[in-house]
Amino acid sequence: MTNASLWLTQIHFLVSLGFLTLFLLIELGLSWTLLFFKLGAHFTKGPGWIAAYRFWVRVFALASVLAFAASIPVLIQIGSLWPGLMDRIGNIAGPLIAAAILTTFIFKSCFLGAMLFGQRQLSDRVHTLVVAMVAVGVTLASLCMVILQSWMQTPTGSVLINGEYLVMNWADIAGNPSMPWLAALLGSGAALTAAFLLLGVSARQSMRHPLSEGELLSFRTGQHLALGAGLVLTLALVGYGQDMAQHQPAKAAATMGYWKTGAATDFPLVGWPDAARQETRYALRLPGAAASWLGQDTQGQSLGLDRYAGMHAPVSATFWSFRIAWAASLFMVLMAIASYLRLRRHDGDPAHLSRTSRRLLSASMFTGWVLGAAILCHVLLGLSPWAVNNTVTLAEVSATQPAALLSAGLLVHALVYLIFVGAFYQLLRHISHYGVIPVARRRGRA
């Protein structure tokens, strides 16, 4: 197993999982937003709520289709790229994957069809309940995946015997130290992604025509959602970093670009981690803020990368993905606050924003994706060279495919994914310009 093919394998898997994550973020965020719209329609009887629901349910349907379809390559690649992985963690990963799949299956087959195509057949109350069930189903299935990923980061509640993990206690597995933070990151990231989608689309619509009631409601919902989710996300990012310092000091050291064990003081905001010289060059440092972001040894010294004999994550990728995640989240929080303050006196109507700010809002429609991709890169690449932290390496579970085959596979996957992301954007732009087309489908008839 050469280093290059291990890298290719990792990137290959990361690309597939990333594609899934992008649409899962939208699906998860919009599912709860739609429930909010339905409840709003229920309690205030305003006509805008239903219009907003009708528009965004189309986007939700498309995102859920893409997320579901994207899960099949991921599932297959767990076997074809990491053939040794399930041998070792099958007892833990198996039930979690099964739970995610059975949940998806039950909730999609029972409720998604009724939500998308059965609104006329159901009473209003029942339909709202169905929308709620769809949101619960998506959340439960993503929670299973979060538990699996976080357990691989901080394995607890299990024991490794003869190269195979056995379950000791499911409660400890589910409640492993990094689980709450990853769950919070996914949840708030999804909400923020959905919020910026709402803001961006409505801002773009307001440049073409005065906003209707429903579009205004979408914009206002996006504003409040962005403020709330931005706050939670910032806290979750801090918590994730502190938790990492405590439980994954090697990953924390790579994130901080901290090479030599000692008394750390400065937090490098940006810089260039140079592996050959074992130092972070050209760093812009924040004095006295570093200690709680790094693991400590018994003498109270901050653990640097020199303690790990090369068994640590690729420093530049970990360092930069964490900072990109921070930059994206701060950008979104600032945008949300600024637009809220500007429009506080104007009832949240984006028509009162300048054209440039509206263009900026509409251009930052997919900032949530940047955030999601950066966090995913940090979570996955930061764990390497381990597949399960400190026990199972990626190299020992990885496939031995020739590099040429892997690159070809990666290229084709990336191409297909790009086409579908483009198609999603094209359709989103089309419906935001011309409104939604109703899609009817009857079971058993054609």
Binding site: A61, L62, V65, F68, A69, A70, S71, I72, P73, L75, I76, I78, G79, S80, P83, G84, L85, M86, D87, G90, N91, I92, A93, G94, P95, I97, A98, A99, A100, I101, L102, F105, I106, K108, S109, C110, G113, L166, V167, V397, A399, T400, Q401, L405, V412, H413, V416, F420, A423, Q426, L427, H430, I437, V439, R441, R442, R443, G444, R445, A446
Partner: protein, 352 residues
């Protein structure tokens, strides 16, 4: 047979370590068969789109509409069950199959997404997605064939294996096309039916050739499989299976030939016969492999997860599978027989 297995493995017949993998194997076989039969006509119609004239393509896509999302779940469910119940065979099976699996994953992804995008796209943007659906279907069908061939002969790079894989790939493509064509014959009258008859007649020969090739190669390239079929009672079963297969192929051919002249009458016979062929071949392969997941190497008991994990999954499956069963009965009950247009609801101005 259960007794001999129990003796061979040294388990008690009531030991969950013994019966749980068997139960899951049965469930998995049911899901795979259901996937092949129900997703099969979907894939078949998708492949036939490439041959259909532009005017009929939209109609063919619309005909598939009601079952599309139900059909898409079978593969998902099968993969999920397999990876969670037999984790220790997952990597060993998947790693050598990287190429056909990639083809299949992309095929399934492309056809699923293309179908939904066509449904939601404005009319002038629909035709690329129809083509995408067709290409995805052909990729999926070919990938199934390659997977089947490589499971049977192993994935050595010898010339014979490659030729065999290519041949089986084409045969499986033809099998799905046959399934799709016979389904169209049953569903839709008019010129689409006449075309479907022609497609079906061309496909049926390849399917018959493929069935023979799979059986012969499976038996001859593997002594264990040959012994299992040629000793005692299975020999009678072999004869019976061949007679039934022969009757199926002949009846499909005869019905299709007659229909060329009298295409006004609808018939479900060729479709059901094709289903029977699929079931027989799948059952034959399952019997040849059992109890191995990787032939002569990993049995279902070697590959199974720990009893605790299996018990959890079984509990989940007991909840989920009845739901799946009821849901699918509800969805599929009107799949047979000719299509009926949806009835508009009576106009009632006072109701919301």
């Amino acid at each position: 047979m259960i007794d001999s297995l129990v003796n061979l493995l040294g388990f008690s017949a009531h030991d969950p370590l013994f019966w749980m993998p068997l139960v899951f194997m049965a469930v998995l076989f049911a899901v795979i068969t259901a996937g092949a039969l129900l997703d099969g006509f979907d894939i078949g119609v998708g492949c036939l789109l490439l041959l259909a004239p532009t005017g009929s393509r939209t109609r063919m896509m619309v005909l598939l509409g009601p079952w599309r999302d139900a059909n898409a779940y079978w593969l998902f469910l099968g993969l999920g069950l397999f990876v969670s119940v037999f984790p220790k065979a997952w990597g060993d099976i998947m790693e050598p199959l990287y190429l056909p699996l990639t083809l299949m994953a992309l095929g399934v992804l492309i056809r699923f997404v293309s179908f939904e995008l066509r449904l939601r796209a404005p009319v002038e943007l629909q035709s690329p997605w129809i083509r995408g659906f067709a290409i995805g279907s052909v990729m999926t069908a070919l990938a199934h064939g390659l997977l089947l061939a490589q499971l049977i002969v192993g994935s050595g790079p010898q010339m014979g294996n490659l030729a065999f894989s290519a041949f089986i790939g084409i045969c499986v493509l033809a099998a799905y096309a046959l399934l799709g064509a016979t389904w169209l014959i049953m569903r839709e009258a008019g010129h689409l039916r006449i075309r479907a008859i022609v497609w079906g007649r061309q496909a049926v020969r390849w399917v018959a050739a493929g069935a023979v090739a799979v059986s012969i190669v499976l038996a001859l390239s593997n002594t264990g499989v040959f012994l299992r079929w040629s000793d005692g009672p299975p020999l009678g079963a072999v004869a019976a299976i061949w007679v039934v297969l022969f009757v199926c192929f002949m009846s499909i051919e005869i019905t299709l030939r007659r229909m060329v002249n009298a295409s006004l009458r609808t018939t479900a016979l060729p479709f059901l016969m094709t289903w029977l062929v699929f079931v027989l071949i799948l059952a034959g392969i399952a019997y040849s492999f059992f109890p191995y997941l990787v032939l002569d190497n990993i049995t279902i008991w070697d590959a199974a997860a720990s009893v605790d994990s299996m018990r959890l999954i079984l509990a989940g499956a007991i909840v989920a599978l009845p739901v799946a069963f009821i849901f699918n009965l509800w969805v599929y009950w009107s799949m047979l027989g000719p299509t009926r247009p949806p009835q508009p609801r009576p106009y009632a101005p006072n109701q919301a």
